[in-house]
Symmetry: C2
Subunit: 355 residues, 2 copies
DNA sequence: CTGAAAGCGCTTACAG
DNA sequence: CTGAAAGCGCTTACAG
């Protein structure tokens, strides 16, 4: 048994020489579905093993014009929702035999240089989470035949697909829940004001409250960041007529807001203040927080994302597709629980009015 | 001004034709340092812009034998420490003009298929965080001339570099801190028992306690996972003679342990029970937890990792290098504070005995 | 400074 | 089923 140590440059030609076959035969051995005699194949495989040969994916990409690489652009990982998404994406892309090229951090905010990289590597698809895309860039991708999917964002752009949840309905549901809980003064800590998720969640929330006769909503801006959410909470909770019910646009901020309410204002949750979040991310489930929150079905969202990508890659047709999934209002301890409408499904409590 | 839309296959030859120069000239225009006349360069650049040309990184890789891709293998992102690391790695690699190919999740645990991918893509370097590497694979990388750096792990393997912090000293420091706080019964919630970090942290902790005359340490195993840590805490806190001081091998588990102690056992922290963690990750700083913890200097650890990689890539010499950095015991509210030894540095409280 | 040419390691018609 | 050959889009000696 040889050790299988690979010297820097083992090529298919070397394997061919060793196996006494042509270089084409070596290539066919490593191409699923190529026509090759079992005997030849065995010889090649043996030689390959001896030399520690592995096909060069770079050379293969050059000729097939497929890199089997998907670019994932994720501006910030601070919110655990995104690492969770990343992990699931990694799993599913690997299962489809695709690799994941990650672009994060500050560089991801200014999309131009990132897109230069993406185009240079001739990725087969692009997933944009927590980032948007300028119209020129998205058109450029479409023109180049590269499918783009927005994750948890949406846009009017023609060529860009998206996967989201019913944010507006989610916002409505939260409004109904807080109304049913008998709250009287409402507040909203917003996410990034330019994001579609934030707009939709707020719109639904305001709608529901208006139907309940409440048009006065205190608004603070958290920009989906902890520090901004804390500042917004401080301001809002210092109000003479402070809200007794707060919808915070995601759990990541809700955690920070709860700490401010409890430890800086001495408020009891939910007795003095009800807080509802969005996402149902890890810390929402931790006992210290127990956040009542609209869940986003992460796994199904990733399923849909990968599905759209695979479909567009294999068909070569880039037609924008918008998948919209539903979440549930998971009831925990951070908000007063209404008398009715809360049911237990699969071991968790969920708010389903008129059910 | 042209729109710059890129058709699928703009190549250097097409740009050359358009600019009225040779294909070599186009290549030189996009190769930093190549000898090209400013005038020629300008013509090429103009033509490239008109056609929306970008050099094909795949083709370039094939001939230069450098992919400018670094593989990052990160088994699990659940612990926020790792997303933080990932973000910083992304930033620093981008600054050095390298791309980051991410391998996560379950597939990362079984290293063989992952390594097959890594080798096929001819990555220029490999960073392993929260994963180890079998001896054959590390030797194979070394033989292939691919530098490997273990992040927050170490190993005896010859060819594999590592970046860690002084885990043993950290464990000692924590032991000293808890002794100075006047605790009498000690417990340890371990991480993965096979990991070097866990071994070293425990060894230092036990050493310090032994010097203080305590050789009896209650031990539970949390495997760096929340669920396991919770189970271990339940068991340990139900002990007739339960510890009044707990060292939990990382903050990720410490958060879970605190919730169990408070909400399942009704314990006050730190009055009934002191808890010290490790890492100084996000939630440790949240007011609900305020974990006293050994910090790991994440940015400097990433600096060191990238530094080792860049050095080995440019020199072509793979000689294992082990960088060991120091953290500090950051004092917050989860553990009783000793009378002396706690000093304030740069606005944070730190335990520095005999200082 | 420039262009013609070789070649990186593969895949894939093509002819047998 | 197999091999010889062309070619993917570049970089880089080489000669001028």
């Amino acid at each position: 048994m040889d050790s299988g140590i690979k010297r820097p440059g083992v090529t298919s030609s070397e394997v061919a020489r060793r196996a006494g076959v042509s270089q084409s035969a070596v290539s066919r051995t490593f191409t699923p579905g190529a026509s090759i005699a079992p005997k030849t194949r065995a010889k090649v495989l043996a030689a390959a093993k001896e030399l520690g040969y592995r096909p060069n994916a770079i050379a293969r990409s050059l000729i097939t014009n497929k890199s089997r690489i998907i670019a994932v652009v994720m501006a910030y990982l601070e919110n655990l929702f995104y690492p969770d998404v990343l992990e699931e994406l990694g799993r599913q892309l690997a299962a489809q035999n695709y690799r994941l090229l990650l672009f994060t951090g500050s560089m991801a905010r200014d999309s131009d240089p990132v897109f230069d990289q993406i185009m240079q590597y001739r990725v087969d698809g692009i997933i944009l989470a927590s980032t948007s895309l300028s119209s020129e860039l998205s058109e450029e991708c479409a023109a180049a035949g590269i499918p783009v999917v927005l994750f948890n964002r949406t846009t009017e752009r023609d060529a860009v697909s998206s996967v989201t949840t019913r944010n507006r309905e989610g916002g409505r549901r939260i409004g109904e829940f807080l109304l049913a809980g008998g709250h009287r003064r409402f507040g909203y800590i917003a996410g990034l004001e330019t994001s579609s998720t934030n707009r939709d969640r707020y719109a639904g929330f305001a709608e529901a409250l208006a139907e309940g006769g409440h048009t006065d909503i205190a608004i603070g801006t958290g920009n989906y960041s902890r520090a901004d959410a804390e500042a917004a909470a401080r301001e809002m909770l210092a109000l003479p007529d402070r809200p007794d019910a707060l919808f915070v646009a995601n759990d990541h901020m809700a955690v920070a807001v709860m700490d401010v309410a409890r430890y800086e204002f001495g408020l009891s949750i939910p007795q003095d203040l009800s807080i509802v979040g969005y996402d149902d991310v890890g810390p929402a489930r931790w006992t210290s927080y127990g956040i009542t929150t609209m869940s986003q079905p992460l796994k199904r969202m990733v399923d849909a994302t990968v599905d759209i990508l695979m479909e567009q890659i294999s068909s070569g047709e880039i037609e924008a597709e918008h998948r919209i999934l539903s979440g549930e209002l998971v009831v925990r301890t951070s908000a007063r629980v209404p008398e009715s409408g809360v049911v237990e499904i699969d071991g968790r409590r969920v708010f389903k009015p008129k059910g």
